[in-house]
Amino acid sequence: MVSWLGYGNSAQVSIVLEDEETREKVPVLADEEPKETQHLFYDGESVTGKVNIKLKQEGKKLEHQGIRIEFLGLIEIYYDRGNHYEFVKLDKDLARPGDLSESCSFPFEFLKVVKQYESYSGRNVRLRYFLKVTICRRLVDIIHEKGLVVHQLSSYPETNSPLKMEVGIEDCLHIEFEYNRSKYHLNDVIVGKIYFILVRIKIKHMELSIIKRETTGSGPNTYNENEQISRFEIMDGAPVRGESIPIRLFLSAYDLTPTMKDVNKKFSVRYYLNLVLVDEEDRRYFKQQEITLWRKSPTSLKPENRGVAALENMRT
């Protein structure tokens, strides 16, 4: 049996990070819980702090079989309940079996923790990092968790060619679309154009949307969740050949994550631009094109933190 939230009959556990005041907090989305914020970490950063154990009844001793803290990275697939995949597990013993006679505090240090993947909370799958303190006892363990958010940063890709393609239906509709890049960072702007080569259908309007596709499982058990993140009209009316329609789409307006390919071989999150032309009889002609999204290092990142992972890596 397990007592969650550290509220045993006897003790209250809390975890306080060393730089809790100064570290940035980021909102976390999860299906069940209301929106909360958690501290943000990057790959290579150390996770240090204190575990505070407060005895509910001062004077009454707390017997235990050991106290430990773990740093865990977990992938949870919702439809596969009970099957959690731990891809990171670090632990430290805080106290050997014995008694706690008064409230106390244990410092902990996980140095230069490798956090390979970005935190993700989606329709069918969740990837999360958290610290877990366990006070082992004979009957009921006391457990307390504190979630963390991890962002994966990338630098400007070496190659980033525009996406340019001629598509259509033979004899009916030929267009050439162009998007200025194939890889966009999360605060980037998609600049593009649609050029009409042949228009033999009666077009009413044209729209562009961003589709997020979350893929979980493999083989016959593959689940694809498509979500339309945004949609807006880029053209109203009937174009003729030779017409060019501009596109300008600001990505910072939307709730996007970086593209994640085959995370721990468990899930993928990919993004597509969906160009849709609608004719007068509401028939839809569309073309989906994958784009790669990546997370740029924020300019607000303090220089001490920005270089932390890199400098620590360089020192070893």
Binding site: L153, S155, Y156, I169, E170, D171, C172, L173, E178, N180, D188, V189, V191, G192, K193, Y195, L198, V199, R200, I201, K202, I203, F232, E233, I234, M235, D236, G237, A238, P239, V240, R241, G242, E243, S244, I245, P246, R248, F250, S252, A253, D279, E280, E281, R283, S297, T299, S300, P303, R306, G307, A309, A310, L311, N313, M314
Partner: protein
């Protein structure tokens, strides 16, 4: 044609330009880290920000392209309903007039006469041969075909006009569908004086 842009995005674009000027000085001060390939690349990228949202250069559109008759001209009118025969053996047919410049029709103007059952035949053929969801025809009006009615049943003017509108909307919807345009049955229906019900179904192009 109108290229629609929300004013919200322009405001955000302007705000980002202002932010860039405030932060670019800070970027330049600190040394390079492994998070950037080098600091100059970082600053260089930020500098290009104000040019980042500029439109791509479009290809020029010639006057001919802009002012020519549109290449999607397709009109089918249903006109001049006529009732033929006498007594029980009467039937109504309609003039089906096609005007188009789509090359797949191989003919720019054409007129044929068709009756309701011909439309039913076309609908059946399209459901069988193509993968389209075929729109519905106006009703068969079986009640109107029963004897002992006070009015003229299916030969009432009002009913004929209602039916005319329904089949006009039907044929325009279907004739504009790129997959339906590929079916022989549609072309037979629109261009041949008499429908050969024993035709060989097929497509016009691959």
């Amino acid at each position: 044609v109108v290229s629609t842009q929300s004013t919200f995005f322009f405001k955000q674009w302007y705000q980002r330009r202002v932010l860039f000027f405030l932060s670019s000085g800070i970027n330049a001060e600190y040394g390079s880290t492994l998070l950037y390939t080098n600091k100059f690349e970082c600053v260089g990228r930020e500098m290009a920000d104000d040019r980042i949202t500029q439109r791509l250069t479009p290809k020029d559109q010639t006057l001919a392209e802009a002012y020519d008759i549109p290449a999607n001209f397709l009109e089918i009118d249903i006109l001049n309903p006529e009732t033929h025969g006498i007594g029980n053996k009467r039937y109504t047919d309609y003039e089906v007039r096609l005007k188009t410049n789509l090359p797949i029709f191989r003919i720019q103007e054409c007129t044929v006469r068709r009756r309701y059952s011909d439309f039913e035949w076309l609908r059946g053929e399209l459901e069988k041969e193509s993968k389209i969801i075929v729109p519905a025809l106006p009703g068969k009006a079986l009640k109107r075909m029963l004897p002992f009615r006070g009015d003229d049943g299916i030969f009432e003017e009002e009913f004929i006009e209602e039916r005319r509108q329904g089949i006009e909307s039907f044929i325009n919807k279907i004739a504009g569908h790129p997959l339906a345009q590929n079916e022989k049955c549609l072309h037979i229906f629109l261009t041949e004086a008499i429908i050969d019900k024993n035709y060989v179904p097929g497509k016009l192009r691959n």
